[in-house]
Amino acid sequence: MQRVKKLNFLKRIGLFLAIVGPGLITASADNDAPGIATYSMAGSRYGYNFLWLLIVVTFGEVIVQETAARLGAVTGKGTADLIRERFGVKVTFFAMLCLLIANLGTTIAQFAGIAAGAELLGISRYIAVPVVSLFIGFLVLRGSYSRVEKFLLVLCLAALSYVVTAFLIKPDWGEIARAAVTPTIILETDYIFAVLATIGTTITPWGIFYMQASVVDKGVDEEDYHLTKADVVFGALWGNIISAFIIICTGAVLFTTGIQVEEAEQAAMALAPLAGEWSKLLFTTGLMGASILAAMVLPLSTVYAVTEAFGWERGLDNSRSEAPVFYGLYVAVILISVIIVLIPGIPLFPIMWLSQSMNAILLPVLLILLLKLANDKELLGKWVNKRRQNYLTIFLTILITLITLALFVIPVFNRS
């Protein structure tokens, strides 16, 4: 039977462009405010030490995101749907709690990014954060944020300045290459936190849900799946290459001078070789763009996943009285985030990256569920996980669990 979708080569490219996106977007989000904070911190404290980890994490991201995309394409259902249908209410409740905590942490981090960015420009966070959050709430609830979104995406391109800076400062590329292939592990609490943050900001719980939801939303099916797969791989490479350059810049500029990034102002100095006194502005542009963008999308997608799992009315086309949980939870997530970053004297920069460590700690719960779903023959038929994919996912899950355990065990050893 001839199908409407049979297209010639040019149309195929068009189709590719229509389907590409989710993978690229999730991966670019590696370099949101918490992402920039994590890499700046890691680069300034440990130099090029983290580059090898980025390579491991890139593989992990591809494996995890590909699984989510495949589940979406074959079943046409969201992650929360599948968890609920396969595991029942109790497991769903636990999984959603993990997701909610992880995403609340990341949303707080985004608002911390907004606060930090504003203060770099000399604006008090007590003005900037409430104003921006009202602006976000207004746009999102009115459902008219698509134009603003494109503008913010352009601001995010500021992250590219790290690439330019890296070539300007002419770092020792040999040393960088060596660092990238030599795993280094330091058994101390700060280092473990940094490792977890790096994992947690790249392979995110929300990324899994977002990826699957967008694949479903775009109507990708088995036939187009190969395009989505290419999108996932390309996105992960792109996102992590930028991440690597952030580490290279901060490693070359800050680590060598012994500055350990504790606040945004220091992080901005990594761009000084390129922009001089304008580096603050450049850094703020990227930070604010990414933070506001994520603050618009993340709470909304979280609330969608939770309400979907429990079958509560959801969506912006419902009124507040029709979908009380949907709107209530949305407002709660935003309010809690705003209040926390406005606590006087709360350190913004550590909030940004520590929230990512928490992401990583919660990740194994979702990875196990994802693994079980991906092996369900009734659900996926011939699309179930290959043995290699299973091994890699299990390896990743065990790795994260071991690192988390190390976090609790190391202090005990260091004391004795």
Binding site: Q2, V4, L7, G143, S146, Y210, V216, S301, D317
Partner: protein, 419 residues
């Protein structure tokens, strides 16, 4: 009333009180009666084997599961293939609530004992069901009583729900029939809410006409997605059933090659209508008009006019016909008459005498806002679109299409979930 969350995972005892295993699922049969009977339970025996036990072996299901025969005398239950595995296929899955006309998630399933058999009575879609599954129902009720508020039960009777992830073809047909009876806008909303696989299986055998009506109420993105997954023949059939203006909008958004193919497969007359609409930009009178309207030739009496309309094949396609347009032999617009006036006037009177000659009309290039403005100003339900120079009547813009710019339809407010 018993809930299956209280039965699943319970231990199963035989007539001698020997433990057999755990109940893992409950099977409902297919019946024409209002409530389908429970025909068997699935038991995971202690040696790990899954067994189906016929309902005739079951003594009680609640408070504990006891059989009325010893283990040794159990005969295997034979599946007919149309049984519904309640836990695996219904619990936690989506169903369509026919009363509320929406897609809901099943939090629990209700069973009752009537006339010597257990029957499936309804599904719990409320928060109480969720709490029960979490083991918090009792706690919650106690708290609620403390505040003097009794929680509301939200159980929907089984005959008011449609199970859509159905695999049994007979049941599937029944589900489709039930959903097809809903208003098109509700069908559209349900198709939107369903996952892709269920949605597609539901649409597969739905009447082209029903589906076309539902698609007209769906966002363009859904229309394209639905059509893209069909074979050309059926897609063309559905386009024929759609209003020409809707069909034209849809075709304009498909790749040129696909829309050309579809137009060739459509009946000539319908394809012609759609082709002429495709020439106009989408936000002009020409772009939003429909070519289906009621018209009569000049010089008829009232009774002839009504007879003409009744026999006119074109008029059969018209959905709302409040105005009848009078055209001369060149199809130029001469006047308009309200259907009401046609009905209320003596049959022998000439239409030309009672029709309104100063018809408000627009050219196809007029902007959509301008059209909406005219319709509001002159209180019109539809406005004729005529060719510049010749006055040839091309179509009408109906009120709902004109006000789309001013007052977007519900679905337009619904935004993509993510960016």
């Amino acid at each position: 009333m018993i809930y299956i969350s209280e039965i699943i995972d319970k231990e199963v005892w035989d007539a001698y009180g020997a433990r057999m295993g755990k109940c893992t699922d409950i099977l409902a049969g297919f019946s024409k009666k209002q409530f389908p009977p429970i025909v068997a339970i699935q038991v995971k025996c202690d040696d790990g084997v899954l067994k189906l036990l016929a309902a005739s072996h079951i003594g009680t299901l609640f408070p504990s599961i006891a059989l009325n025969v010893p283990q040794t005398k159990i005969s295997d239950f034979e599946e007919k293939g149309n049984e519904l595995f309640l836990k695996k296929q219904v619990l936690d899955h989506q169903i369509v609530d026919m009363e509320g006309r929406r897609v809901v998630r099943v939090n629990d399933i209700q069973i009752a004992f009537t006339q010597n058999e257990y029957v499936l009575t309804g599904v719990d879609v409320g928060n109480l069901g969720l709490l029960r599954r979490l083991g918090l129902e009792g706690f919650y009720i106690r708290i609620a009583r403390l505040f003097g508020k009794l929680p509301q039960k939200s159980v929907i009777a089984w005959n008011d729900v449609v199970h859509i992830e159905e695999k049994d073809p007979l049941q599937l047909v029944k589900s489709k029939e039930m959903i097809s009876r809903l208003p098109p806008a509700d069908i559209a909303a349900i198709l939107e809410d369903l996952d892709r696989v269920s949605g597609q299986s539901l649409m597969e055998n739905m009447d082209n006409e029903v589906l076309a009506d539902a698609l007209e109420e769906s966002p363009l993105k859904t229309q394209i997605e639905v059509l893209s997954n069909m074979d050309f023949e059926r897609a063309a059939d559905i386009l024929e059933e759609m209003e020409p203006d809707e069909a034209a909008d849809l075709l304009a958004d498909l790749p040129t090659e696909a829309s050309q193919n579809l137009l060739e497969l459509m009946e000539d007359e319908e394809a012609q209508d759609v082709r002429s609409l495709l020439d106009y930009p989408p936000d002009t009178a020409g772009g939003i008009m429909t070519t289906d309207f009621g018209w009569i030739p000049e010089n008829l009496t009232v009774i002839q006019a009504m007879e003409y309309l009744r026999r006119s094949e074109e008029a059969q396609d018209v959905e709302d016909m409040y105005y009848i347009y009078v055209l001369d032999q060149n199809e130029a617009l001469k006047g308009v008459i309200y259907l009401r006036d046609l009905v209320m006037t003596e049959p022998e009177k000439k239409v030309d005498e009672i029709m309104n000659r100063d018809t408000i009309s627009v050219f196809p290039t007029e902007s959509q806002e301008e059209v909406a403005y005219f319709m509001a100003k002159y209180d019109l339900l539809s406005i004729p679109v005529i060719e510049e120079g010749t006055d040839r009547m091309l179509g009408i813009v109906t009120l709902d299409d004109a006000i789309d710019t001013v007052l977007p339809t519900a679905y337009k407010k619904r935004l993509p979930r993510f960016f």
